[in-house]
Symmetry: C2
Subunit: 180 residues, 2 copies
C-alpha cells in the first residue's frame, strides 16, 4: 500500500482522509508540520504554499488540506477564514448573519495541496453545492456540517460513509489519488 504524508493539526480531517484514501489503496500517515498559512481569497494559493513549505522543510512529499465554506449572499464569507470564524463566532452567529436572507446557497470547498521536494506544488479542488440551514441539525461531522444542507439533510445528519462519498473533501482526495 502506498503511503501519503498528511500535514494537519485537525483530527477530523485526518480521520476523513484516512477513510477516503483507504478505499483507493493509499495509507495516510500523519506528520506534524506547523506551516505558515497565507491570507488569500482562494484556497489554492494557501494549500500550494503550505505543501511546498512542508516539502522543503521535511524533505519528503507532503499533502495538506485547506477547506472552507463560501456563502453566496455573504460574498463568499467566511471562505478561507472558515476555521477562524468557526472558533470565534460559531454557527450560531453565522445563522444570525443569514437571518432574513432568502438566498441560502453555499459551496463547501477543499483544496488538497501536494508537493514533492524540489518540485512545484499541485492542487486538487473538490466542491459540493448546498444551502445554509435555518438551524443546526445533526451531531456527526464537524465545523459547519450541522448548518450545511445537502438535499434535505445537513452534513451533520449524514453517516461518515455517506458524507465522504459526496463531500468536498472526498471529491478533492479522490482527484488527488487518481492523479497519483
Amino acid at each position: 500500500m502506498h503511503k501519503i504524508h498528511f500535514a494537519t493539526s485537525n483530527a477530523h480531517k485526518l480521520k476523513e482522509a484516512r477513510n477516503i484514501l483507504d478505499t483507493v489503496g493509499y495509507e495516510v500517515e500523519h506528520i506534524d508540520c506547523d506551516y505558515p498559512e497565507l491570507q488569500a481569497d482562494d484556497l489554492e494559493t494557501i494549500s500550494a504554499y503550505g505543501a511546498q513549505w512542508c516539502a522543503r522543510k521535511l524533505d519528503k512529499p507532503v499533502m495538506v488540506d485547506d477547506s472552507g465554506i463560501f456563502i453566496e449572499a455573504l460574498n463568499g464569507f467566511p471562505g478561507p477564514y472558515s476555521r477562524y470564524v468557526e472558533d470565534h463566532l460559531g454557527n450560531r452567529n453565522v445563522l444570525k448573519l443569514m437571518e432574513g436572507v432568502a438566498n441560502r446557497k453555499a459551496v463547501f470547498m477543499t483544496v488538497v495541496g501536494y508537493c514533492e521536494p524540489g518540485c512545484e506544488p499541485h492542487t486538487f479542488t473538490g466542491e459540493v453545492e448546498g444551502n445554509i440551514a435555518i438551524e443546526e441539525r445533526g451531531m456527526n461531522g464537524f465545523g459547519y456540517d450541522p448548518i450545511f444542507l445537502y438535499n434535505d439533510r445537513t452534513f451533520g445528519e449524514l453517516q461518515d460513509h455517506e458524507k465522504n462519498r459526496i463531500s468536498h473533501r472526498g471529491n478533492a482526495m479522490r482527484k488527488f489519488a487518481g492523479w497519483l
Copy 2:
C-alpha cells in the same frame, strides 16, 4: 528630514502615516511591495513577517502596518481579518452580529512592523478602546471608523487631526518614531 519607506496598498493608511509622522520629523515614502500576509490571531506576527519579507526583497529598511478591530463580545472577531470582513460583509453585517448584544466593547489596534536588511523585525503596537455604535455615523476616516465610538463620537465623526491624536495608528506610529 529622515525618510521612511512604507509598504502598503491602502491610500488611507498612507495619508494617515504621512500626517502623523510629519509632525515628528519623518517623511514617508510609499513603496510597492506585495508581501505575503500570514494567517495568525495576533497582528504582531503578521507585521513582523511582512516587514522582514519586504526588507529582504527590496534590500532597504521598510515599515508595514497591520490593523484590526477586536470586538470583545465576538471573541475578538474580526481581528486580523478586519479588511476581508470589511470587504465581504461590511459594517452593516457587523452591526447585525451585534444586534441585541449588551457588551459593545471593542479595541482598535495597529501594529507597525519595521525591519532593516539582514536584521530581525521590530513591532510597535498602538491601541484605542471604544465601543461598537448602534448605527453608522460620520463620513470621515475609512473602514470601521463610522461604527467605532470613542466617548460620544464615532471615528467617522472626527476630523483627521483629532483622530490621529488618539487613534491606534497614531499611537503605534509615534512609538515607532520615538524608537527611531
